[in-house]
């Protein structure tokens, strides 16, 4: 299946980017893990879905990106749990918007934190005792962890940016937040048309 853009994650970041890109006339696919889009409220998720679909966005609900095909610094395709049988989602570019720990955008064990779809570089320390503050109401260091990007919000893997993979929303490490993905993608979209 071929799209202009594939967005992994159907939360606020993913839905917003999908809206902008489809508005700009791109053929967009959103992969969202929940049975409804991951925005709060009892009706909002369905309203958001209807609005996106009206703009021609393909929404794959209850599905999950399992891995990616990467070659020469470019993402060639993403596999999902439900499509299976070698079907991959192909696109000119991809947006990683899977959120942090709660939405499983980041996984962790006692010593490691990793991003499971692309194996992106994650900003964190391997010493677990630095992940938290003893005071619950203080800012928690783990809330700042996330994937590293370059200044154009392109995701780093092994220290090098993949040229067509961008990160948006909560999954971005605090130190890389200043890279504004929506603006960049919008420019990209206009240029392409």
């Amino acid at each position: 299946m071929r799209f202009d853009a594939v967005i992994i994650g159907g939360g606020y970041a993913g839905c917003t980017v999908a809206g902008i890109l489809s508005d700009a006339g791109l053929k967009v696919c959103v992969v969202s893990e929940g049975l409804s889009l991951a925005v709060s409220g009892s009706k909002t998720p369905y309203a958001a879905q209807a609005a996106l679909q009206k703009h021609g966005v393909t929404v794959l609900r209850g599905d999950r990106a399992m891995g990616a095909k990467v070659q020469d610094g470019r993402v060639l395709g993403v596999e999902t749990r439900n499509l299976g049988f070698g079907t991959i989602l192909e696109a000119d570019f991809y947006i990683l918007a899977t959120g942090k720990f709660f939405s499983r955008g980041l996984l962790s064990d006692k010593e490691h934190i990793w991003e499971p779809v692309f194996g992106a570089d994650v900003e964190y320390s391997s010493d677990r005792t630095t992940w938290y503050d003893e005071d619950f109401s203080a800012p928690q260091p783990f809330m700042d962890f996330g994937v590293k990007t370059d200044a154009s919000a392109r995701v780093l893997v092994d220290g090098k940016a993949l040229e067509n993979l961008y990160a948006a929303g909560d999954i971005v490490a605090k130190g890389c937040k200043e890279a504004n993905v929506t603006k960049l993608i919008e420019d990209y979209a206009r240029r392409d048309k």
């Binding site: 720990f101 619950f136 109401s137 928690q140 783990f142």
Partner: protein, 520 residues
């Protein structure tokens, strides 16, 4: 300010103090139990919840093993609502060999513990989660006990037999007149007189005694534990080897508790006990030998308590330490009449400890009343459990409070506020009325509110509001109180979550942060 003179004042609202207060009250002594915080604030609320069969001690401590099995049988009878007769397994792994097992079974039987070797295949059929590499298994009458429920039941019974319970009242010092202890002075300056004072304050006993010029050499021994969010096994799982770290997994309600460690810690740290990430790592490394699936089971939190061990020789290096019951008659031992200490021992042997202390109190005050605590059932465990009108609303409350649910008004307060543990408004009102609950931590100890799998993530605001409304008639101060309860609760839970903050627990922590409004 003076008040009436009691026959006996018991200092400490853990299981030892509560059981002693019950025994004293049942023997007709005028009794006061005084506790600086809420009941179960110390080791009684920070343990495994294991009703020992005595098997663990059979090889190393015959007397302790015999005490355990006798008391185990008594508590199953008098505290049926607090005990879940799960039974226990002692499993042998290849590296343990079977020599220990043969001796273990023989020693258990000598101590009167029914220990039955069973086929490893049968053990795996009974408990599929245990390590499949086992080469041997022994079935023993271990059980699971809810320590909060057990202490509550003792407190209720003591009260119903005339004892006074003063919580949130710290004892500043013991009052001495002419070399004799004649009562206690509270932190607020109130002097309360009694003929005998019994110290049952766990590790905090030594400090109180020192005030009165009595030296008890105590060694605080820290034990850390981890709670898993599932009932991984239905029996108590032990390792059949010399007792060591992290070799017992105990089921309790819908969770499992793995423990423990044993490390000498400075006495100053005992007021703020917390498990460390290093202790958690050690517990998991060892625990995975017992039950491999612990490696990827969701962890709820970790906590730690302090065993009040008594050093026979205070000048010694701590090796000569007994885990047995220690009853000190300070009149004979130190020439300080009016003062008795009961410490050491175990949750399992608490009734016996209370009996020993009360026997001595009776001797001192000239009473010949006999002990009846082994025969009279505790509140909540009297006869058959009541049937329920609405199983959805009442079943959990009956599980927790047994026959006591007759005092709860489900018609008026049937709304469930804590969904993990099914705690209703009626149960909260009951806890406030009967246990003098003042804050949300107290409420947790008496109802299990917020102790379930969500750890209060979903319910804590509505629970805090309900409690604040009962405690404070003024809506504005109730709202303020509710806010305090929420942040107090979050902070208290956070202490146990940080040492296990990875995997699913980290997922939930992010959610908690967002729900709490710290981020979003």
């Amino acid at each position: 300010m003076t008040s009436k003179e009691y026959d006996v004042i018991i200092v400490g609202g853990g299981i030892t103090g509560a059981a002693t207060a019950r025994d004293c009250a049942l023997r007709g002594l005028s009794t006061l139990l005084i506790e600086r915080g809420d009941i179960c604030d110390g080791a009684s609320g920070r343990n495994h919840g294991l009703l020992h069969s005595g098997a663990r001690y059979a090889v190393t401590d015959r007397e302790g093993a015999e005490e355990c099995i006798r008391e185990n049988r008594i508590l199953r009878r008098i505290a049926s609502n607090c005990v879940e007769p799960t039974e226990g397994l002692f499993i042998s792994l290849p590296e343990d060999g079977l020599d220990y097992q043969a001796n273990f079974i023989a020693k258990c039987r000598e101590a009167g513990i029914d220990a039955q070797a069973i086929d490893p295949a049968e053990a795996l059929r009974l408990e599929p989660a245990i390590n499949p590499r086992i080469i041997g298994a022994v079935k023993v009458p271990d059980a699971s006990v809810d320590p909060f429920r057990l202490v509550d039941a003792h407190i209720l019974d003591a009260q119903r037999h005339g004892a006074d319970i003063k919580k949130f009242t710290a004892v500043a010092s013991l009052v001495k007149e002419g070399g004799r202890v004649v009562g206690v002075k509270t932190a607020a300056g109130e002097v309360i007189r009694s003929r005998e004072v019994v110290l049952a304050a766990g590790i905090w006993t030594a400090g109180l005694a020192r005030e009165a010029g009595v030296n008890i050499g105590m060694m605080p021994s820290k034990g850390a534990l981890v709670i898993f969010g599932h009932r991984i096994a239905n029996m108590v799982i032990n390792r059949c080897r010399k007792p060591a770290n992290a070799d017992i997994l105990v089921p309790g309600d819908v969770v499992s508790v793995l423990g423990t460690t044993s490390d000498k810690v400075p006495i100053e740290t005992c007021d703020d006990m917390r498990a460390t990430p290093a202790e958690v790592d050690l517990l998991l490394r060892e625990g995975e030998q017992l039950v491999p699936s612990l490696a990827h089971t969701r962890i709820i939190r970790a906590y730690a308590g302090v065993r009040p061990l008594v050093v026979a020789d205070p000048a010694g290096d701590g090796r000569n330490v007994s885990r047995g019951i220690v009853l000190l008659d300070h009149e004979e031992r130190d020439g300080v009449p009016g003062l008795i200490t009961i410490t050491g021992g175990k949750l399992t042997t608490s009734r016996l400890m209370a009996q020993m202390a009360t026997d001595l109190v009776c001797k001192k005050v000239g009473s010949s009343a006999v002990c009846r605590t082994a025969d009279l059932p505790l509140p909540g465990s009297e006869g058959r459990k009541p049937s329920f009108e609405d199983p959805f609303v009442e079943r959990a409350a009956i599980g927790r409070h047994g026959t006591e649910v007759s005092r709860m008004d489900f018609g008026k307060g049937g709304e469930i506020l804590c969904e993990c543990e099914h705690v209703t408004r009626a149960e909260i009102a009951y806890a406030v009325e009967h246990f003098g609950v003042r804050n949300i931590s107290d409420l947790r100890r008496h109802t299990r509110i917020g102790m379930g799998t969500c750890q209060g993530s979903f319910c804590i605001r509505s629970v805090a509001t309900a409690l604040a409304e009962i405690l404070s008639p003024d809506p504005r101060s109730a709202a303020k109180l509710s806010d305090e309860f929420v942040s107090q609760y979050r902070q208290e839970r956070w202490k146990g979550i940080t040492p296990v903050l990875w995997g699913d627990t980290l997922r939930e922590a992010e959610y908690m942060q967002k729900v709490n409004g710290n981020e979003i």
